[in-house]
């Protein structure tokens, strides 16, 4: 009977993920069709079908150009970065055994931002070599994120357990330090760098081009898959590091893997589109509330839901003030913050 039960559990997990996938496709189609330059839905479909060699309906060349050269890379980028933030948030929450952890809170994002800014301002010569710019910036951001998250982790851990209060304090301290260092670097920056940074600090998907997609797919996709492979170990870590060791998990190795992969995902995301808050915090929470804590569902679910939410937020950012664009960080925080307050409110109510 239990066999049947766990079988249905796997089935329902798969169904949930398929459901998320369908929603993601719908959101992507809507994003492709809507915007400052509106492309009617039938044309959107016929452009897409034309790409795979099936001729249905007619469309204008301009429509195809907007869709394929401007919107599609942007949407792919939103999927990768949103999904990456979701899955990295879920993995870090699992590793720190704390549902408050978020890439922004524990310093991954600001560390990555600091190193990205240093790269952009202090190494202007890098701009002359194209490959350094496409690969150097994300890798630099990754190193910054990794340094900060490792520092926060070391500071907050005592006797194999991370203390929530010290964790938050360490995160605040590292964030403040990184923030002030960013300010210091910007002090020496020229005007154009400064302007691009202002937009970038709230997140900006507008810079997404096909040239950035291969690097993003590799450096966000591969570590995300590696994170997925650790979901059982994350389940074990939820009982505590000692307990995970008792059950045969090589805790040290798993933690290093988790830290590197999440720092890579977040760091590359930050270097591509800037700092986007709340996705990494809210998405894993939502999944846990709706579908339970099993990381075998939480991790892939967080990736898909993160991709959905960031695409949705980007869609709003693009259509709300046509022809201008709202910074996407404004939208995610506008949706995320009230939602989070509602969440805390409900958690308190259910406790009493």
């Amino acid at each position: 009977m239990i066999t049947a039960l766990s079988h249905t559990k796997i089935q329902s997990q798969n169904l949930t993920l398929i459901g998320f996938g369908i929603v993601l496709v719908l959101v992507v189609l809507a994003s492709l069709s809507l915007g400052a330059y509106s492309i009617p839905f039938p044309q959107t479909l016929s452009i897409l079908f034309d790409q795979i060699g099936i001729q249905v309906g007619t469309f204008e060349v301009q429509q195809a150009n907007v869709l394929l050269q401007i919107r599609l890379p942007r949407i792919l980028m939103a999927m990768l970065v949103g999904g990456g933030l979701g899955i990295a948030g879920a993995a870090l929450q699992g590793m720190f055994r704390n549902p408050l952890v978020e890439p922004g809170l524990i310093g991954v994002s600001s560390g990555a931002a600091l190193f990205a800014v240093i790269f952009m301002v202090i190494i202007p010569a890098a701009g002359s070599l194209a490959w350094i710019k496409t690969l150097g910036l994300p890798l630099f951001a990754f190193i910054g994120g990794l340094i900060c998250v490792t520092a926060v982790y070391q500071l907050s851990k005592s006797q194999g357990r991370t203390d929530a209060a010290t964790l938050i304090l360490a995160g605040v301290a590292i964030n403040a330090l990184a923030g002030s260092l960013i300010g210091l670097v910007l002090f020496f920056a020229d005007d154009s760098a400064l302007r691009s940074f202002t937009f970038w600090s709230l997140g900006d998907l507008g810079g997404a081009t096909w040239a950035k997609i291969p690097v993003s797919v590799t450096l966000i996709g591969v570590p995300s898959i590696l994170l997925l492979l650790n979901s059982r170990q994350l389940n074990a870590l939820a009982l505590g590091e000692q307990e995970a060791f008792h059950m045969g998990v090589n805790v040290q190795q798993v933690k290093i893997r988790l830290l590197i992969c999440s720092a890579l995902v977040v760091g590359v995301g930050v270097s591509m589109v800037g700092m986007i808050g709340f996705v990494g915090l809210v998405v894993p929470h939502l999944i846990r509330i709706l579908f339970g804590a099993d990381h075998r569902l939480v991790l892939p679910g967080s990736f898909l839901l993160g991709a959905i939410l960031l695409n949705f937020a980007d869609l709003i950012a693009r259509v709300i003030v046509i022809p201008a664009e709202m910074p996407i960080g404004v939208i995610t925080a506008l949706i995320g913050a009230p939602f989070f307050i509602w969440l805390i409110f409900n958690l308190n109510k259910s406790k009493n």
Binding site: I2, G94, Q233, N235, L239, Q242, E243, G248, V249, R288
Partner: protein, 267 residues
């Protein structure tokens, strides 16, 4: 055989575990008793591999503990620590399933069902672990630990438990020790830290008394349970009474006349 020889562990030059040697054979229950701060938990952590054993050696079935990887170690021994916190809303079944994480078993569902029944927790299996009472949590943790070594294997294995009965009522305490007794026939050796002397007297095959990091006395139950030794170890007068019903030994801690409470470091 689980063998610890001359295990020594210091914190700031102060010995917590002092040259302790101990053997645990498969098929026997060894109870480790001692006052608070005697070094029981530290010794326990050295045996489980949680603390690195720098002086002395610990061997499982003749293999040195340092040479065993975490997953190899998990195949020969399961550990139940005093407290385990679960921070996310896992269900009871999910928690118990975790016990199988590093072992490949043929019928996981059957094993899980068996341990849930053995620990009297099958009715809880779809509930969220964090919503359970203290006693229920402890029984679920026991199920999680048991499932790791439940499948019969051709080599001897060991179960280490640190106060598994601390939040259980009398009936549940006896239920847990009865489960441990049934493990003996599965070629499993059990080391259990207990506070309740009568439980040890009733269920253990051997007892080791620990005081100030040293073994005060180790041996069979009859050899160790002596009023003088117990009184010395616990700094408290203790009387052994014949149980009029079962004929076994009852341990009674009479009220102490003088009031000097020794203050040792908390374990």
């Amino acid at each position: 055989m689980l063998q610890a020889s001359q295990v020594h562990f210091c914190i700031r030059q102060r010995p917590i575990v002092d040259e302790v040697s101990l053997e645990l054979n498969p098929g026997e229950i060894l109870a480790v008793l001692g006052p608070n701060g005697a070094g029981k938990s530290t010794f326990f952590k050295i045996l489980s591999g949680e603390i690195k054993c720098k002086h002395g050696s610990v061997g499982y079935n003749g293999h040195d503990i340092h040479k065993l990887k975490a997953c190899d170690l998990a195949a020969v021994r399961a550990v139940m620590p005093q407290h385990t916190q679960v921070n996310f809303p896992f269900t009871v079944q999910e928690v118990v399933e975790l016990g199988l994480i590093s072992t490949k078993v043929k019928q996981p569902a059957k094993l899980i069902q068996e341990v849930l029944e053995a620990t009297n927790t099958s009715h809880l299996k779809n509930q969220v672990f964090n919503h359970l009472s203290g006693g229920e949590k402890q029984r679920v943790q026991l199920a999680r630990v048991l499932v790791q070594i439940w499948e019969t294997k051709p080599f001897p294995r060991y179960l280490l438990l640190d106060e598994p009965t601390s939040s259980l009522d009398i009936a549940q305490q006896h239920a847990v020790l009865k489960i441990l007794q049934t493990l003996k026939s599965r070629n499993i050796g059990i080391l259990v830290i207990l506070h309740e002397l009568n439980l040890a007297a009733q269920y253990a095959d051997k007892i080791a008394l620990l005081k100030n990091g040293m073994i005060a006395k180790a041996g069979t139950v009859e050899e160790v349970l002596e009023e003088k030794i117990l009184a010395y170890v616990f700094d408290h007068p203790i009387h052994l009474i014949k149980n009029p019903v079962t004929g076994g030994v009852l341990i009674s801690a009479a009220a102490q006349t003088h009031t000097s409470i020794p203050t040792f470091k908390q374990a």
